[in-house]
């Protein structure tokens, strides 16, 4: 049965419609709210392309049922920062030109932002470990590492 889910997305109170108890948050965010800053990659929490922050924690929105977002604070890539007020990680990704196709960016950026919130001065090894579950096929990893290190030093 479909049910309404009151939640906060990018600072705005919204009501999402969960078509059933299993419907992933991913589809609610992309198709109901038009938030395309998260991507369907695998539906298995293996690639990271759908990563969002749920109460500050990086989660895979393909594996979080929309009903579990009730009363939570969700932040997507769109809400992390803006061109006028970029998050330090976003700013660093632009400065390092750490993007090719960009499909992995929700994973790379949201996971890194969550890491820096927990650990503002991570080592390169910690960054690599944190991003071990985010797949990139274009081979932007060297630039991603440079960007997160730059953001950590900002």
């Amino acid at each position: 049965m479909s049910e309404n889910v009151q939640t906060t997305v990018n600072g705005r109170a919204v009501t999402l419609r969960a078509e059933d108890a299993d419907m992933p948050l991913l589809y609610a965010l992309r198709n109901e709210l038009g938030l395309t800053g998260l991507h369907y990659g695998c539906g298995l929490a293996q690639c990271g392309a759908c990563t969002v922050h749920l109460d500050g924690e990086a989660v895979r929105s393909c594996q979080v049922p929309a009903v579990q977002a009730r009363g939570k604070r969700i932040v997507t890539l769109e809400g992390l920062g803006t061109p006028e007020r970029p998050h330090p990680v976003q700013k660093a990704f632009i400065e390092e030109q750490a993007v090719q196709c960009g499909y992995c960016l929700p994973g790379m950026i949201m996971q890194s932002a969550a890491l820096l919130a927990r650990n503002p001065r991570p080592t390169e090894a910690q960054i690599r470990e944190e991003l071990a579950g985010v797949i990139c096929r274009c081979g932007t990893q060297p630039r991603v590492i440079a960007a997160v290190l730059r953001a950590a030093q900002a």
Partner: protein
């Protein structure tokens, strides 16, 4: 807009500058379909200048996430002397852009960019001629600043000269292009125009297209590749709210629903009984299967002297076989398209690398004249060859036709891994003879690879549905680089083109060229070791004296990597962790981009774990439009191909692909990515060549050679897993 400030802003490295560009997401009226010329000899095909002086570039090559869009903007802006912010790019729209061939083969700048540059140079010359008339001056006395032609007697803007009117003239490929010293945008590391939107989640990909009344579709693939539908129970999905239709055409089965989640649930729930099918070869015996496959054609790609005789008479002979397994593209984003029929016409929004070809294939499949079909390119996730996007477009078209409403279709992860076309298995036998001084006197190689070249990879949709298709295989131009870039006195390289291959083949980044270079560059390393020679010095013996650019990349990579001149393997192989380095060299297709690389590895003798610690690369693709873009491509090639060298391998049963997600088809992870050091050789007076593929060619061989240097054990079968490494060490 302040034009001077504008250019400064563009050139400010790393600035968060957004330059507006259009990729045709907004629906255009049907009237626009035939309004614009798309012939490649017309300037108006490539360029238009509006009444405000804004320049629109129309280009058939598309940005597959490589940043080449920015490169095209640099070319147009520089050649025309307009600020980059005044340039807009429309890519890969069959109604608006020329057919410049698929975006493959590292040819976007080399061919597409050079065509664009010629159009711009022709336009600039014409604009100067018109300005000279207007200003009563000699064209040579005029200069252009930010789209304004300036002479001693006055000034006139492009907009005033032609604004809003078509540039009605033929492209002159001899129109003078700017000399290097006059270039202000080309040759610089201009920030990519797409990156800010991607970083802020505002970029519109093909996945994000939304149309009024749009439904969501999913394809229900057979559980076995050749299975056929026996029974289908539409009632099995009737209880799912939002399901609109079950579509069956032959063995193509799809579902359409009001929401994406309903479509996914319906595809999972739909009850279909499929026939059993087990027509695949046994994976463990794939190379026997390849050797036993009938040969359709024998192609000798180089033939000099009598290598067979030379090898028989040689002081020392070597032989080896190198194999490279079947790979999936394994794109990050499962293939997706949106199709819409209106007024008897079909519009498809697609991430296809070849929209003009896709249009023809859809016309064939659907029995429609291609004039009634329009394919509009939008970026998908990174594409390294013909993946599943064309098939998804055909799926979407079939479903949209069935339901009479626009349909967005996306494959699921397991669909992508199982049903994208595959890089075919590649097997190379090599033999060489050395004289008493270790010189190569004869070299022979034989590759066993499927027949075919580039072309239109058949649509899976058409195959399943039993609709018209070409019914040919097209693995890409996979014969190149079996011929060697070396001056051996006797050499013969032969491709046995097989009549079939187990999975629908297509090209994946550096198709065949990488596998052939892998075999050649590892085998020449075997020869160097047999000769007791340093691997770089040995290669330099055989590089043609009249080709100094090849020598230069090798000599420079030796310096860059602080190469210690000595034979391989290294002498101290006593510890648990063994370290080594290996080199590789490639002249792409023997006619263009030069690349050399050095891999540094650590091998754990006990576990077989192999770690690449650093990778150095020198790269000469001639003139560079955007050096940072080239560097990003080189880095991407290296990381992607390390993934293919160490981890990737399609697995399959007798019926189906079994590597259907990221745990069963593993790829490189962040902790495994080495430090990469790239040295680009800029040659602004040379013609520009490609960088999207060549650096991939050197990776597996550099790694094989480094492992041999570390361990004294030669690895010849990709992927280099710890289990294979352990077994090789124990067997040595």
């Amino acid at each position: 807009m302040n034009a001077v400030l504008d250019r400064r802003a563009i050139l400010k490295a790393g600035g968060a500058l957004t330059v507006a560009f259009s990729v045709g997401l907004a629906p255009r009226g049907a009237a626009a379909w035939t309004e614009k010329p798309v012939a490649t000899d017309e300037v108006a095909t490539f360029l238009s200048i509006d009444a405000h002086g804004a320049v629109t570039v129309h280009i058939g090559k598309v940005d597959l996430g490589t940043g080449v869009r920015t490169g095209f903007m640099q070319i147009a802006a520089d050649e025309l002397d307009v600020p980059m912010a005044r340039v807009t790019v429309i890519e890969g729209d069959t109604a608006l852009t020329p057919d410049q061939g698929p975006t493959y083969g590292s040819l976007s700048i080399q061919n597409g960019g050079v065509q664009l540059r010629a159009a711009c140079a022709t336009a600039r010359r014409e604009l100067l001629r018109l300005a000279a008339e207007r200003l009563r001056a000699e064209p040579a006395s005029l200069r252009v600043e930010d789209g304004v032609v300036i002479g001693a007697q006055g000034r006139v803007s492009y907009a005033e000269l032609v604004g809003g009117r078509a540039l009605d003239l033929k492209v002159d490929t001899n129109a003078p292009i700017k000399p290097p010293e006059a270039r202000r945008i080309v040759g610089r590391a201009v920030p990519r125009v797409d990156i800010p939107d991607k970083v802020f989640g505002r970029f519109r990909y093909v996945y994000d297209v939304r149309r009024d009344g749009m439904l969501h579709g999913r394809t229900v693939f057979p559980p076995a590749l050749g299975a056929t539908v026996e029974t289908l129970d539409e009632g099995s999905v009737r209880g799912i709210p939002g399901v609109v239709r079950v579509v069956r055409e032959g063995n193509y089965v799809g579902v359409v629903a009001e929401t994406e989640w309903a479509a996914i649930k319906a595809a999972r729930a739909l009850s279909v009984r499929w026939s059993s099918w087990a027509g695949l070869p046994e994976q463990a015996r794939i190379w026997e299967h390849v050797r036993a496959t009938p040969v359709a054609q024998v192609q000798v790609t180089s033939d000099r002297g009598n290598p067979g005789e030379a090898i028989r008479g040689a002081a020392k002979t070597l032989s080896a076989t190198y194999d490279f397994p079947i790979h999936s593209h394994a794109s990050m984003g499962p293939s997706c398209a949106v199709a819409e029929f209106a007024g008897g016409r079909l519009t498809v929004w697609t991430a296809s690398q070849a929209t003009h070809n896709l249009r023809k294939q859809l016309g064939l499949m659907l029995g429609m004249p291609i004039e009634q079909i329009r394919c509009i390119y939008l970026e998908g996730s990174g594409c390294y060859g013909r993946n599943g996007h064309e098939d998804a477009a055909a799926d979407a078209a079939l479903l949209a036709r069935a339901v009479g409403r626009p349909v967005r279709l996306q494959w699921m992860r397991q669909d992508e891994h199982a049903w994208d076309p595959k890089g075919p298995p590649h097997l190379v036998d090599l033999r060489a003879g050395l004289d008493a001084q270790g010189n190569i006197v004869g070299w022979e190689s034989e590759a066993f690879i499927p027949k075919g070249a580039g072309g239109n990879v058949d649509l899976t949709t058409a195959e399943l549905a039993g609709l018209p298709r070409e019914n040919q295989i097209h693995p890409g131009n996979i014969i190149h680089n079996l011929a060697v870039p070396y001056t051996f006195p006797a050499v013969k390289t032969t491709c046995h083109r097989l009549d079939s291959t187990p999975f629908r083949p297509s090209w994946i980044r550096t198709p065949g060229r990488m596998q052939n270079t892998y075999a050649n560059e590892a085998f020449i390393d075997e020869c160097a070791a047999a000769a007791g020679a340093d691997p770089i010095a040995y290669r330099l013996r055989y590089l043609p004296a009249d080709d100094p650019r090849g020598r230069e990349v090798l000599e420079r990579v030796a310096r860059l990597a602080n190469w210690q001149t000595r034979p391989s393997p290294q002498s101290d192989r006593s510890g648990e962790i063994l370290r080594g380095r290996g080199v590789s060299y490639c002249k792409y297709e023997l006619v263009r981009t030069y690349v050399a690389g050095v891999a540094e590895v650590e091998v754990n003798r006990r576990t077989g774990a192999i770690r690449v610690t650093r990778f150095w690369c020198t790269h000469d693709c001639g003139q560079m439009i955007n050096p940072d873009g080239v560097k990003a491509q080189v880095e991407g090639n290296i990381v992607h191909t390390l993934s293919r060298t160490f981890k990737e391998e399609l697995t399959f049963s007798r019926s189906a692909v079994t590597s259907v997600d990221w745990s069963t088809y593993q790829v490189i992870t962040m902790p495994e990515v080495p430090e990469i050091i790239v040295e680009l050789i800029d040659r602004p007076t040379e013609r520009p060549w490609g960088s999207g593929e060549p650096a991939a060619a050197i990776v597996p061989s550099a790694v094989s050679n480094a492992i041999f240097d570390a361990t004294g054990v030669r690895m010849r079968s990709i992927p280099y897993t710890p289990a294979k490494m352990r077994a090789a060490i124990q067997g040595a």
